[in-house]
Symmetry: C2
Subunit: 219 residues, 2 copies
């Protein structure tokens, strides 16, 4: 897979355990689309920062948003270089030797600069975010009014300079350790939906499908 | 709470929705101890980077580790400024108005520079990490040999310059929106343990307690 899709740049070239790297669009989109949040790294006069924030994908761009006055939005509007990371932790890998312990995960890293989504496109982008969170809900809620939209900055970053790294499966032990009398295997982890909690005051409205179906595997 | 514990520095002072900030040690330790992974941001000649990696806490330090040859370890050994972020996503908050949608989460951000854990302390630190992952397992596995330990870099960063930000609870809707005929509430998310998967070849050893009990809530 990696062989068919070379790294798009020097800084996305995985060097450690490079057989776990993926540079294809399908792998990237799957990891991005499974994420509600990402971490954005950038550098300013106070140093390096690492900010978690909600994210969604439209086409070949990852989107974030925030209040106009937030530092993240203000800095990103200036076009500073950013690195966006997404991680899904899938399990703890217990090997027979301490050294061979590992974790299963799916991760993506995106390099570039964010661009400001123009005023006329903001409402559609925020609706796309809502569609990811709760399909069909945009038509049910009070949409953003002029002031709310005006106070919100929406930003997007190209997914062109990106790399994925994943690990799946059981432990890779040394041959000599395979007969050691210790349990080995994977302790899986999964981000799972829990029972919905209705807000008070309760509304006498039927639960929409995205609430009824909440409780299935989300990740 | 925030009033009793001021921000330790200018760059840890939360400005947006500052009532959600926490600067006390108890909040910080709880968020760090619940995490298997963190994201480390730093800046080098290629720009800003955001690297997910495993983490654990000992006393007032957060620890990470890696191969000596990994970029993260090489750069951190030089003492460059870093920002470490930890995030637990607890749910999607569905408000009556699109604008008031939010997420529930517990997050921590730590600023500083990593220090190299000296050779003579590495084995004990890696054992502390194992104790977090699987209590009692260090005594069961083959411990790291001289070459394995020599090839591993362990790094720690002080938890002194840190800040937490959390959101819990239902949506905060505008008064005028409370009677809108739309479902509102929280769709909770939780990182949950799934059934353990034993490695092949199967060992005829009893499951240790940390495997038997896997399946309880981990986050």
């Amino acid at each position: 897979m990696s062989a068919n899709h070379p790294a798009p740049s020097e800084r996305t070239q995985v060097k450690r355990i490079s057989e776990n790297a993926r540079y294809d669009q399908e792998s990237l989109y799957a990891i991005v689309d499974a994420a509600y949040v990402c971490h954005v790294a950038f550098h300013d006069q106070f140093g390096s920062h690492c900010i978690p924030t909600a994210c969604w994908r439209e086409g070949d761009f990852l989107y974030i948003h925030g209040a106009n006055a937030s530092r993240l939005c203000k800095v990103m509007k200036e076009g500073v270089q950013a690195c966006v990371a997404i991680l899904h932790l899938d399990g703890l890998v217990l090997a027979r030797a301490a050294f061979n312990h590992s974790m299963n995960y799916r991760s993506a890293m995106i390099y570039g600069s964010f661009m400001v989504v123009p005023e006329e496109d903001k409402a559609a982008s925020m609706a796309a975010f809502m569609e990811k969170i709760a399909p069909g809900r945009q038509a049910q809620v009070r949409p953003g009014n002029r002031a709310e939209l005006a106070g919100t900055t929406v930003l997007k970053i190209s997914l062109q300079e990106a790399v994925c790294k994943t690990r799946q499966g059981g432990p890779n032990d040394d041959e000599d350790d395979l007969t050691l009398p210790v349990w080995a295997g994977v302790l899986p982890l999964q981000l799972q939906a829990q029972a919905p909690i209705a807000a008070t005051p309760l509304q006498t409205v039927p639960e929409p499908d995205y609430v009824k179906s909440w409780g299935q595997v989300r990740d």
